[in-house]
Symmetry: C2
Subunit: 137 residues, 2 copies
């Protein structure tokens, strides 16, 4: 994908991406810094934040503003809207496509005369797995 776009997925960027994609939970920048140290001994905060900026730019990850953390994008092959379901119990984050919601949103923007460049929905609650577990036990 990066090849096609003519951008460089350098080792640092790839390592950060893999660390984020390996986790189903949102990951903090400084955790990434700690975890990348074995491979990138010279890594500093700027190293991470630059990689994060690049990956966000390319739509490969998202920033979860309510958590100050980052989550891998599950459908990075196309530009898309964002709905994150954040579980308070297991901390996992599920990303979903949401055509219906986004269409309703677009109408709202029209009414408001607002031109949206990005829209992000972050919901906090309890995921299916966790509520199943609770009702069983």
């Amino acid at each position: 994908m990066c090849l096609v776009r003519g951008v460089q997925l350098t080792p640092i960027r790839q390592q950060v991406l893999v660390l984020i994609w390996d986790s189903h939970k949102a990951v903090k920048a400084y955790d990434l810094l700690d975890r990348i140290k074995p491979q990138q001994n010279a890594a500093k905060p700027a190293t991470i934040y630059r990689a994060l900026d690049f990956l966000i730019e390319q739509g490969l990850i998202h920033r979860a503003g309510s958590l100050n953390a980052f989550i891998g994008c599950s459908c990075s092959d196309h530009q898309h809207e964002l709905l994150l379901l954040i579980c308070k119990h297991c901390n996992e984050v599920e990303e979903r496509a949401t055509p219906d919601v986004m269409q309703a949103l677009s109408q709202e923007f029209n009414q408001a005369g607002f031109t949206a460049h990005s829209k992000a929905i972050e919901a906090h609650g309890i995921c299916g797995k966790c509520s199943d577990f609770h009702s069983i036990s």
Copy 2:
């Protein structure tokens, strides 16, 4: 409102609330700290963050996660869902009620088996006023 709920809108809390409500832009915690100093000479970060926590708890303000900033609630008399339209040009933030969007969202949650405790939508773009201005000039 606070009386009815049996919670205290102390001077510090009220001053923070007024500072936030006076602005149509999202306000940063440390700006609040600077601006409350004349009235509350002893104010420290904890002073502000405690007031912010209280005001959020009471639904009087919202945190805009994508900005790490805070915005007054325009309909604080009831619990409600959140849609913030954040203008990149003038930095003003408009809050809108969004029954349609939120209903579509609820369906999405049902499908996902997710129990939402809070849902926040933050859209970045250009507000009506600013795009009018641009098209005129």
